[in-house]
């Protein structure tokens, strides 16, 4: 079995799967249960001066019959006394010494207040501190959370204060609600951050009740924008994790957060540079038990591919994340339809005809043979047909080799390299009845 042991900025855990700071990490009982279930670490629900929450805190987006493909919340940080939280963190650490326990902190932007909370936290024996500079709702109105994380100078300043007294690793959790997250990441590193974690939730309104016109989650008919998360945000998180992990000025470990629900998601985050993985929404949906398949699936995949440790996988996809101008213009591909697998739904035709390049021809249904075929001279290899096809392996994209060397836009625009010939029909769709 693959070795999943993790050392993230000096914080050790038996596997890379940590519970992200949130409702599942609110109490000793939950975190202990999670560790018993197999979680490698937990970032405690953010501690600060206890707040008062509203009733009705979560909203979600369903996709068809699939529940909660997107999720948001307007819950604030912990509403429990700081002392209670710290006492339970100490208890967890005492009873689960090999697991990673990290305290998430958010207090007023005052040096002495930060010094005090960091010192008290370290007394618990916690393995690390995560600074919540990302929470986008409620706390940001009070000058905390993303109000800090959206301003590089504030971010740097508070990290510096924390590092003045910190004796354990400090992770800075970043908000995606900025134009370029790398600026904030660099500021955190400049302030002395030992690691970064991202993404926190995204500003959102998940829905509006069409009977009452109340946005969700409705608090007596009103709502406020909340933090969006869940499977829907994974692509955004993957991009931002890769952007930070690739940035030559960052160079600190990155903990990946955002829509991780399966071992595949986890492996993708690791391949884009994540050193540990934080999960919240999937646990809120299905419970702590999901960690079993996260571990099992990741291990099986690593074993099958011959990856012994996470270090073998980490960042492996980063080199392949390029600028558009670095992509090869002479890589040509075409869609191929396996007619034996085709079930004749014609979704590919509809999508290509209306939404892409009119490169699929319809054939009469009553002939008993194929009903769709690729018009190769019109196919730009865009992938859309393969994406909409409901049969696995029926439409594949195949490279069409040519004798031309690779040429990127950067090179071509500079007058270097030669473009392989392209079909005239790319720009001249001919409309006929056969379509």
């Amino acid at each position: 079995m693959a070795d999943l042991r993790t050392n993230f900025a000096g914080i050790e855990s038996p596997n890379p799967f940590w519970l992200a700071s949130g409702p599942p990490t609110n109490t000793y009982v939950q975190v202990a249960k999670a560790f018993d279930a197999g979680w490698g670490g937990a970032v405690w629900k953010t501690i600060g001066d206890p707040i008062i929450n509203v009733f009705s805190r979560y909203g979600s987006v369903d996709l068809g019959a699939t529940r909660m493909m997107g999720f948001n919340n307007i819950e604030l940080i912990s509403d429990r006394p700081i002392a209670d939280n710290l006492k339970e963190i100490a208890e967890v650490k005492r009873n689960y010494p090999k697991h990673a326990i990290i305290a998430s902190l958010m207090v007023e932007s005052k040096r002495e207040v930060w010094h005090d909370i960091v010192k008290r936290t370290q007394d618990t024996g916690a393995d690390g501190i995560e600074l919540n500079f990302g929470c986008p709702h409620g706390m940001s109105e009070r000058g905390m959370g993303s109000a800090v994380g959206q301003v590089p100078d504030y971010t740097c300043q508070i990290v510096e204060w924390v590092k003045e007294v910190a004796t354990i690793p400090v992770i800075v959790k970043l908000t995606p609600n900025v134009t370029d997250i790398t600026y904030i990441a660099r500021a955190a590193v400049k302030g002395g951050a030992d690691a970064l974690s991202l993404i926190n939730t995204i500003n959102s309104i998940v829905s509006v009740d069409l009977d009452t016109f109340a946005p969700a989650p409705s608090v007596g008919g009103k709502s406020s924008h909340g933090g969006y998360c869940g499977p829907a945000v994974k692509p955004i998180a993957l991009h931002l994790v890769s952007a930070v992990a690739k940035d030559p000025q960052v160079k600190v470990p990155v903990s990946g957060i955002g829509g991780i629900s399966t071992w595949r998601d986890a492996a993708e985050f690791v391949a884009l540079g994540a050193g540990s993985l934080q999960v919240c929404t999937a646990v809120m949906h299905y419970g702590f038990r999901i960690v079993e398949d996260l571990i099992d699936g990741l291990s099986n995949w690593m074993d099958e591919r011959g990856h012994r440790t996470l270090a073998d996988v980490r960042g492996r996809a980063l080199a392949n994340v390029a600028k558009w101008e670095e992509l090869d213009l002479n890589y040509h591909a075409l869609a191929r339809i396996d007619q034996d697998k085709c079930i004749k739904c014609e979704l590919c035709w509809t999508a290509c005809e209306d939404g892409a390049h009119q490169a699929i021809r319809r054939l009469p249904r009553d002939n008993g043979g194929p009903v769709v075929e690729i018009i190769e001279e019109a196919c730009v290899g865009c992938n859309l047909c393969a994406l909409v096809c409901p049969v696995q392996g029926c439409i594949t994209m195949e490279q069409v080799p040519n004798d031309f060397a690779s040429v990127t836009w950067k090179e071509y625009a500079a007058g270097k390299g030669k473009l392989a010939p392209r079909s005239e029909q790319f720009h001249t769709a001919t409309w006929s009845k056969s379509r």
Binding site: G64, A65, C345, L347, R362, R365, P390, V391
Partner: protein, 407 residues
């Protein structure tokens, strides 16, 4: 075996395919691929735009979904319950080719139409009066489909029906566990509410006066009586034709329909299955199909055969009825085997289900441009959906005849 209790009878005749829950409907609707040029739509005689109505279920637009269904097929609700979808839309579903179950189109169709029936939502309105009037003979699915679209075009419509209730076989002849009379009548009422004049208990004996008085006449009178066996003993007490048996069952409290302890049904079509299963469900100890040919020759649909087997009915193949024996009452059915040997199957009730003949009591002259026919009397006996398709098509032709533009 004791007689079934009222509760047992109610269970025996409950909907064979219960309505989908909203959650299941949403799941199923979202499983539909939304095919282009969809084979399900092509397979439906009324060409309901199946992907369109299913997509509307997925978006929560049930009223719009029902409208798509009923626009194409005024009897979309009863078809959802009684159509042989296995050989029509669901049989054509592309998911069959992915080694999967097809989309439950019939149940989704019922889900959408239940929504409007339960709320008595009228989705259509009568057209501006044209001053033209059309007579329709027969208030079955063909006649009333024709009536609905004529009313939408603004023509005055009078429907003549010999029976005391409208709906034709929907009201009187569909197996009780598929479609109950009150449901059939509720569906009919939506059509009548468009302003159709309905004359019940009126037997039209000649079309000539109607052709003189009306601008057009549509005939949808269905088939004639069940064919006779032409064997001795047919007049014994305890011999009944399938349609009479089923009609009695559907128009009376269950207990009032007499059923034997040992019932023999002669014939192996879909009506024979309806008879043999309902006799069993009424409490017959044995309910047996007797058929002169073999299992593979049975004209009923495969799924109907499966249903009868599940119901515990028996089958006697290669048994050709020769004589019904009994002293005043049925005591047995004498059959001949292929080797010419004979055997008497003991029974106390014989249900004859060997098909209906054509109507002989109403002369339908050919060549009159004002006269249109549709439904079972034109197609020789088919499904509700065929009758609806033919009624709708006739309405379109009549509308054109009366100078209207195509809608």
């Amino acid at each position: 075996m004791p007689e079934p209790s009222d509760a047992q009878l109610a269970e025996n005749f409950a909907d064979i395919a219960p309505a989908l829950t909203p959650d299941f409907a949403l799941l199923e609707a979202n499983t539909c691929l939304f095919c282009h040029d969809a084979p399900c739509t092509i397979a439906c005689p009324t060409h309901i735009d199946v992907p369109a109505f299913i997509k509307k279920i997925a978006t929560g637009n049930l009223r719009g979904s029902a409208r798509v269904i009923l626009e194409a097929n005024p009897f979309g609700h009863s078809c959802a319950r009684a159509c042989p979808v296995e050989v029509l839309c669901e049989g054509a579903c592309v998911l069959n080719d992915r080694d999967e179950q097809p989309i439950k189109i019939a149940l989704l169709q019922r889900h959408a139409t239940d929504h409007v029936l339960a709320r008595k939502l009228q989705l259509f309105e009568a057209g501006k009066p044209t001053g033209k009037k059309v007579a329709i003979v027969g208030a079955g699915p063909a006649g009333l489909s024709c009536a609905r679209d004529l009313r939408r075009s603004g023509h005055a419509v009078t429907v003549f029906e010999a029976k005391p209730q409208p709906g034709g076989l929907n009201t009187y002849g569909i197996a009780e566990y598929k479609l109950k009379a009150d449901v059939a009548l509720a569906e009919v009422q939506d059509i009548l509410d468009l302003g159709v004049e309905l004359k019940l208990g009126v037997t039209v004996e000649s079309l000539e006066p109607l052709l003189d008085e009306y601008d057009a006449v549509f005939v949808g009178v269905g088939l004639g009586k069940t064919k006779g066996l032409g064997i001795p003993g047919e007049d014994l007490e305890g011999v009944v034709d399938a349609l009479t048996f089923i009609e009695h069952l559907k128009t009376h409290p269950y207990r009032q329909t007499r059923v034997g302890k040992r019932v023999v049904v002669i014939g192996a079509g879909n009506t024979a299955i309806d008879a043999v299963t309902q006799a069993k469900r009424l409490g017959a100890e044995q309910s047996t199909i007797v058929y002169r040919r073999g299992e593979d020759d049975m004209p009923c649909y495969d799924y109907e055969y499966e249903l009868a087997k599940r119901d515990g009915c028996s089958f006697r193949f290669h048994a050709s009825p020769k004589r019904i024996v009994g002293n005043g009452r049925v005591e047995g059915l004498e059959v001949e085997r292929p080797d010419k040997s004979r055997e008497t199957i003991p029974c106390d009730m014989v249900i004859v289900a060997i098909g209906q003949g054509a109507r002989t009591d109403l002369a339908v002259p050919s060549g009159n441009p004002k006269l249109f026919v549709g439904g079972d009397c034109a197609n020789g006996g088919a499904e509700i959906v065929n009758a609806a398709a033919e009624g709708v098509a006739a309405a379109r032709k009549i509308h054109e005849l009366l100078g209207g533009n195509r809608r």
